[in-house]
Symmetry: D3
Subunit: 257 residues, 6 copies
């Protein structure tokens, strides 16, 4: 059975893989968060799982079940918590989920764990979860953990292709061209191109307010236009991300002892 | 769009559903746990999501993303934590995941949340998570929560059909006839009938030991034979469970105010 | 001094016992919970301490002070939290109490700790507390922990004697014949036979609702009739439980190193 | 039924008491801690429960089950954690136990809760538990909480009688004349007068060291001699404490609304 | 008394200020973290307090005591936790510190709290602390919180002046020109210009590894050269930051009710 | 550079000091708490840092940044939480701050950590933080921790000089002669002698009430008169405290291995 999905393997197949190949295990982390009228709530989890699977296929890795609920959405990167449907967890919960996963994979004998983040707001809680999980696992553990945000594997060359008029930066890339194109590549039936709003790029002050100012964010939840998205752009991005993540995994971990 | 999967809806579609229909939202909770040589690690999450989806289809409900990691496996119900591949969370993590979900769905205006448990060990931590989530939501919340273990919706009549020589009880039904049959119905490609072991019913003393005694559990991880499983039995069970869960949802919540 | 009660020993006597005999230490866990009009709020703690003491007397063990406050009462097993007088703790508190106890007994050099549960709702939080306590104690600890619910030591033969018309099952046995009879045996002055209500067996659906439906539970708090209780039945049950728990302790722990 | 022990009342009797008399509820908090060769490990819990019961009898109050495990013993007040038999809890556990109790008694409609501390090390964690419990109960709660250390109710006049050569102060009064005399009054069979050691008053520097310096504490665990203890002195002290605690309860709470 | 430092005011002066002027209260958050051979460990706390004080002077605000210990240093932004002297806190501690501060300032009647972050790694834990503090304070609170990283108030025009050869971006600006210049402006005696290392810009892969790869970071701890720093540049930066932060405070909060 | 302030050292200077001299590191802990009309809110932190610095100067030690926020003020020792300006933390936060500090200094190779407490209410949470930090650091750590309240280093001889009419005891010494005199010595510009109120000694019952009785405390917040304070008395006290703390540090730690 050649699936990359860990949850489809029996424990004996999994054990055999871990023992013989020492494959990297990829843990996608997403969110359930508004992504405008044209993308589904689960976009971040779907994309992180998809790029993880493509990467795993290239390196003989396995993909663990996605952590589907992410940290609370912030206006500047995800629109904010006031949108109906955005369903988030407190920091302690996300930290605990990752901590426990790290401790468990260490127990299995996994040596290469890759946390594949698809939701900007998750990053620092993943860091804390990994740190505490490794503290639990103790200094003797054989496990190394790589953490990445998948979009950091897009090269400027490709971004220049995707954005012929200039890449506006990752800051406002929520439910915009990158995510929409990748969803068109991976999950075209879940994209409603006809519903892409015209909301121009959001403009934020250099500070944040709490309770969040809901009027800072367009009512659609889109921070930057998704016009110009295409499946072909998504394919280019997805392939580059998977190829470069695969390379990172192959070169980034210490050689097995 | 008529999907039951919440993560495939845009936030606007979700909001429209919540506002107009007040649909029940079903939250499946599973585990990543050994299920013998013939069933995949993700069995509990796959089955709870499948019965949730079938139920949702009957009642116009939605299914939230599965909580895929469950509480630590115990020898008498899941074989125990010593199996490679079993990947579990501490109580605090599972409690927090459910607490946060309850608080968020209450914020959305959801009035009917159904926690669909597919892993025996989860039950009491789900109870605590729901209790704390409702404490957070406050006494004015419109949200009611139903919690269930899906197998409790199988009738004795159907169990008598499925076990012509007598139902041995749920106690040892881990990776045995019920789960195997339902997997044959829902996910036949993930079942390896040829690998079902002969391990007879496990025999446990009326107490538990910690650290767990790994020699209490057959090396295969199977507590009771899965021989006699069939897709047809799975279909019978699945339909009965979905039908009766649907009925429970329709009659069990208080009428909307 | 031949008392079984640890809190009545001086530390030097205790130390002598631990060092020379390595006695099992039994930790009773109860609850403060409504038990109908005829039994006292402290029933679960009183019974778990009594069976622990009887067992300790048979095996040369010691009984640590009872954890008198248990996890939140649920309608189907204890009537629910809405009863005045039921005084419960959150999961984190019960888990912490057991975790700390495990860590401390390990420090004393105790090798056999027996957690004697007398309140159904406690079980899974005891499991987590033991697991975390052993994690704290580290892999080198000499301590083994046994956890049990005392009623699981009643044989079907005895239950058949106690219930000549058939044992209705443990499910509804809250403040019913088993507990009432054992209280008549151990603490007759605290039982008001004249106040046993006629409330027939409660009938619950195969799911739970939160906030709990108080109308599912008879106003008396009794889930199944206690008629037919007697001190003699209590004596039979108590003796069997103590004898079989003693046997379990003698055979269940690993031999001392 | 005129018992003061809450756990011996049925919930209906308890409810009747709470509803009609609004009695003070006293919650004793002790410890399981070495008390020299002549006093039992449970001294703090036994004494706090005894003075609580005597006080309750005077004011028509009820005594809730004792919290029998206290905060970690410190060299200067209890000898320290290195003694075999001393069995303590982390701060979070004690705080949680009290927090939960406060929240539950508030739910019952109790208006007067008295936390009766018998273990010096507990004090500040009781304060935090009460504060958090009242935060949970919310600003509308009718519950007031009194917290006291029972020895603060001994007058200088009585202390002068008990210590004809001058009261050395509470600082070293661990397993010394006050506790020994009160145990002789309340639980004479648990005192071994013949084993009182000659250990003179311990002499501590004005700082503490961690890990604790076990050589600062006499091997017996006694910080100050218990010579001169007597049941009569215990009776005097116990009566004064109960009488003055009763007075404090009667005058210290706000009048019922 | 016209000090901006809250801890130098008596409570009566503070109360008068809060009641009459409703001044913004600025809470600086720093870190104790290696900053190369030429800057002190306390750089982040010193700078966040200094810009907070300059800003407070412009808007009639007060500066609360600095939170001097920050979240764990990461290789790419602060060099990492392996440096001797870097003294950090777990996420839960930093979150709790901010949560408590928010709750307390809300109780005082403060309406404008400004969290002034000077350590990159703190940001997301400040967000969680603010969110939980406002949850505690309840929906009726008058308090609004602004959170900012002070460097986000530097304009591109000024950065162009400071970096005549082009601004390399904030990413590697740890112990580099910006911080060194500002320290030369605010605390010149704590800067050792002669010890600025030649370490060129660090080059990091697009992922992170845990345990962190200490060889990714120059042994000096400097990620980008501080050559070209000057007090004059620091003055320019500091003045711009304070002026623009003042403006943000004056326009960013809702008008008082 | 001969500063005692750790945050003014570069990490290389700090590392050199730790490696070569193994200096004691002093961690002051204060509070932000009302201190009457004549002393500033930051008194406890300012004094603990000042005595720590004087002590460090005598023993070649270093002073880490002050923990400026202390545990919740209590009526009998600090007036209570109802005063505007008193800004306190929950127990968990203070415990965590100290726990993390202990773990970090152990990692640095520090062998002598001195926690210098200047706020009465902090004591027991410091104890817990130290205990948990050492538990984290593990039994092999070279770190020893000393914890002290600085006022315990005043001798009765000096107190007799300072209080010619007799020392009233530390109990009510909040914002009274000791603290006021020491502030006159260390921070004269922050003392308003003209505003010292006439509030006589507060008189408290032998119990505490929660919610706290604000009418137990004089409206000024002063529990005992500060009349008679002088810089000279402050100098005497400060010198004695520093001298004796220095002595304690020099003799109190175990010799280096």
């Amino acid at each position: 059975m050649s699936t990359v999905w860990m949850n489809q393997l029996s424990w004996l197949d999994y054990q055999r893989r871990i023992t013989t190949d020492q494959p990297p295990v990829l843990l996608p982390v997403g969110a359930l968060e508004q992504h405008g009228p044209h993308l589904p709530l689960g976009t971040d989890g779907l994309l992180s799982a998809s790029v993880a699977a493509d990467t795993a296929a290239r390196v003989g890795g396995l993909v663990a079940p996605t952590l589907s609920y992410g940290y609370k959405s912030q206006p500047k990167c995800g629109g904010g918590q006031h949108f109906c449907g955005t369903t988030s967890v407190d920091a302690a919960t996300l930290i605990g989920s990752v901590r426990d996963a790290v401790r468990e994979f260490a127990r299995h004998g996994v040596t290469q764990l890759v946390v594949v983040n698809g939701h900007y707001e998750n990053q620092w809680f993943l860091i804390e979860g990994i740190d505490l999980g490794l503290r639990d696992a103790g200094p003797q553990t054989q496990l190394e953990v790589m953490r990445l945000e998948y979009w950091d594997f897009m090269t400027s060359a490709t971004l220049a292709d995707v954005f012929p008029e200039g890449f506006p930066g990752f800051a406002l890339e929520h439910a915009a061209v990158l995510e929409t194109s990748m969803m068109l590549h991976y999950h075209p039936s879940l994209v409603r191109l006809d519903l892409i709003p015209d909301d121009g790029p959001a403009d934020f002050p250099p500070y944040d307010m709490y309770p969040t100012r809901t009027d800072w964010v367009p009512p659609s939840g889109v921070l930057s236009s998704a016009k110009g998205s295409s499946a072909e752009k998504g394919r280019l991005l997805a392939q580059e991300v998977a190829a470069r993540m695969a390379q990172a995994i192959q070169s980034g971990f210490r050689p097995a002892k």
